[in-house]
C-alpha cells in the first residue's frame, strides 16, 4: 500500500519564554498513514496531536525529520493541493457569510467551478439554508460543519481533521462520522485526532497512540484491542486508560 502521510524521525520543541530552555514536544515521531484508510490519532491532552497535525499542514516546521505527502515534500503546492484541513476549535472570519467563506477557500484551493462546488458542499454539510448568514451567527456545530465543508471543497485526497467531533451533540457527531465514512467510500484518506474514543472505534481502520510526544502504538484497532486485553469486548476507552496508566507507571 502507498503512503498518504509519512513522518520520519520528527522532532519538535517549543520555547515558552525566550530565556527558558526549549521544551521537547515531539520526539522521534515515525508514522505512516496509508492511502484509503481512516486513521485515528489518539492521545491525552497535551500529548502532541495538534502539533503533529500543524507540522503536516505546514503551519509549523519540524526541528528535524522529514514529512512527505503522497511521496511529495510537504511544502510543495502540489502536496498542499491534495490536503483538506480542519483546525482544532476553528475560528473563521466573523463577518463573512457561509457562502463567502467557502468561496474564498474554493478559490484559494484552485477550484475551477467554485460556485457549483460551494453549493454542493453547503448541501452536503446541511448548511444550505444558512448560506447567507454571517459566520458569527453560526452555532458551534454549524461552525464545525462549515469548517469541514471548507476542508472538503477542493475534493482533496487526504483529509486531516483535528478533533472534528469535539463539542458536538450526538446527532452532530453522527453526521460527521457519516461524512467521514462517505469520504472513505470514495477512496479518500482520512487522518483525524480525537478524544472521543467510542466514536473513533466505530470509524477507524487503524489508530496511532501518542503520549508525551512519543508514539506509543500504531496498528489495526482490532489487533490492538486483542493484544492489550485479550478479549474483544472491552472498549477502546478502557484499553486506552490502561495503556496510559501503564506508561506512567
Amino acid at each position: 500500500m502507498e503512503s498518504a502521510i509519512k513522518l520520519e524521525h520528527i522532532y519538535r520543541s517549543f520555547k515558552t519564554h525566550f530565556w527558558q530552555k526549549r521544551k521537547l514536544v515531539l520526539e522521534d515521531i515515525n508514522l505512516e498513514v496509508f492511502q484509503g484508510e481512516v486513521f485515528g490519532f489518539l492521545g491525552p491532552n497535551g500529548a502532541g496531536k495538534t502539533t503533529t497535525i500543524k507540522l503536516i499542514t505546514g503551519l509549523l516546521k519540524p526541528d528535524s525529520g522529514k514529512i512527505s505527502i503522497f511521496g511529495m515534500p510537504r511544502d510543495s503546492l502540489k502536496a498542499k493541493q491534495l490536503i483538506g484541513y480542519l483546525p482544532e476549535s476553528p475560528y473563521f472570519y466573523d463577518h463573512l457569510t457561509g457562502y463567502e467563506f467557502l468561496k474564498v477557500h474554493a478559490l484559494l484551493g484552485n477550484c475551477k467551478d467554485y460556485e457549483k462546488k460551494v453549493y454542493e458542499q453547503l448541501e452536503k454539510v446541511g448548511l444550505k439554508s444558512a448560506a447567507n448568514l454571517q459566520l458569527r451567527k453560526y452555532s458551534r456545530g454549524m461552525l464545525q460543519r462549515i469548517g469541514i465543508a471548507q476542508a472538503l471543497i477542493t475534493d482533496p485526497e487526504l483529509i486531516i481533521l483535528d478533533e472534528p467531533l469535539t463539542g458536538l451533540d450526538p446527532i452532530g457527531r453522527k453526521e460527521i462520522k457519516d461524512l467521514i465514512l462517505e469520504q472513505k467510500q470514495q477512496g479518500k484518506t482520512i487522518f483525524f485526532s480525537s478524544h472521543i474514543l467510542p466514536d473513533a472505534e466505530v470509524i477507524c481502520d487503524r489508530i496511532g497512540i501518542i503520549i508525551n510526544g512519543k508514539i506509543l502504538k500504531v496498528g489495526e484497532l482490532k489487533q490492538l484491542l486483542k493484544k492489550g486485553i485479550k478479549t474483544d469486548e472491552i472498549s477502546l476507552e478502557d484499553w486506552f486508560v490502561k495503556q496510559v496508566k501503564e506508561k506512567d507507571a
Binding site: L60, L77, K80, Y85, Y91, H95, E100, L107
Partner: protein
C-alpha cells in the same frame, strides 16, 4: 491570480465592514466647517486654505487607515486563527501578503477618490469651477499610502501589530523629515556622519517625493520627469517592501 483575488476580496470586505467609508461624511463636514470658520482669518487666502486643507486631510485619513487597519491585517488572522485554513490551502505566502496589500489598498483608493470628488464639489460650490489641477495629488497620495502599507506589512510579517503601527508612525515621520536629513548630511562636517546620513537619506523611504501638494495648490511647475520618477520610486519601493515581507513571512510559523 484567482487565489490573490480571493484574498484581495476578502480583505477588502473585512475592512469595508469597519465602516471606513463613513469617513467620507466626516471629511465633507470638516471641509465645510473649516472653509466657513477660517474665512474671516484667512484674509483673501481662503481658496488656498480650502485646497491645502482638503489635500492634507484626505492624505492624513489615508495614512491613518493604513496605520490602524494595516497593522492588524495579518495579526487579526493569526490571533483569531482564521489564517490556519488559508495557510493549509495551496497558497504561496507571498500571495497572502500581496492579497492583503491590494485588498486594503483598493479600499483606501476608493476612499481617497471619494474624498477628492467631495473636495472638488466643495471647490465648485464656492468658486463656480472645478480645480482639475489638484487631481494629480490623488495618485501621489496613493503612492504614499502604498509605501506605508508596505512598511506595515513588512513589520507585521514578524512583529506584533502594536509594533507595526509604531514603526509605521516612525517611518511616516522620518519619511517626511527626509529633507532635514539631507540638510544635515549636506552641512555635517564630520565625514563619517555625513556619509551615514546620506546612506540613510537614500535608503529610507522618502515620502516627501510624493508630496506635491504645495506645488499643486500654487500651480507651480512640476517637471514631468519628477512625476515619472516619483511614480517609479513608489512602485519599486513597494515591491521591495512586499518582497522582503514575503521572505520573512515564509519563515513564519503559526503556533
Amino acid at each position: 491570480m484567482h487565489r490573490i483575488r480571493a484574498i484581495v476580496e476578502n480583505t477588502f470586505k473585512e475592512s469595508l465592514r469597519q465602516r471606513i467609508l463613513n469617513l467620507l461624511i466626516i471629511f465633507a463636514i470638516l471641509l465645510i466647517v473649516v472653509s466657513i470658520f477660517l474665512e474671516p482669518f484667512a484674509i483673501g487666502e481662503s481658496p488656498k486654505i480650502l485646497r491645502d486643507f482638503g489635500l492634507a486631510v484626505s492624505s492624513i485619513f489615508g495614512v491613518l487607515i493604513v496605520i490602524i487597519i494595516g497593522s492588524s491585517l495579518i495579526h487579526k488572522d493569526i490571533e483569531k486563527r482564521t489564517i490556519y485554513t488559508v495557510i493549509a490551502k495551496p497558497v504561496k505566502r507571498g500571495e497572502i501578503i500581496v492579497g492583503k496589500f491590494l485588498g486594503l489598498f483598493f479600499l483606501i483608493a476608493v476612499l481617497e477618490t471619494g474624498m477628492t470628488i467631495i473636495h472638488q464639489i466643495i471647490i465648485f460650490i464656492y468658486e463656480g469651477a472645478f480645480d482639475p489641477h489638484l487631481l494629480i495629488a490623488l495618485p501621489f497620495s496613493l503612492l504614499e499610502v502604498m509605501v506605508l502599507l508596505g512598511i506595515l506589512l513588512l513589520f507585521s510579517s514578524f512583529s506584533s501589530s502594536t509594533m507595526a503601527s509604531i514603526m509605521g508612525i516612525i517611518f511616516f515621520i522620518i519619511g517626511h523629515g527626509s529633507p532635514d536629513l539631507k540638510l544635515f548630511a549636506d552641512q555635517s562636517k564630520v565625514v563619517l556622519l555625513k556619509y551615514i546620513a546620506y546612506v540613510f537619506y537614500y535608503i529610507l523611504p522618502n515620502l516627501e517625493n510624493f508630496n506635491l501638494r504645495i506645488e499643486l495648490v500654487y500651480k507651480l511647475p512640476v517637471h514631468h520627469d519628477q512625476i515619472l520618477f516619483s511614480l517609479c520610486y513608489g512602485l519599486i519601493y513597494t515591491i521591495l517592501l512586499l518582497y522582503v515581507a514575503t521572505i520573512i513571512f515564509e519563515k513564519r510559523e503559526f503556533k
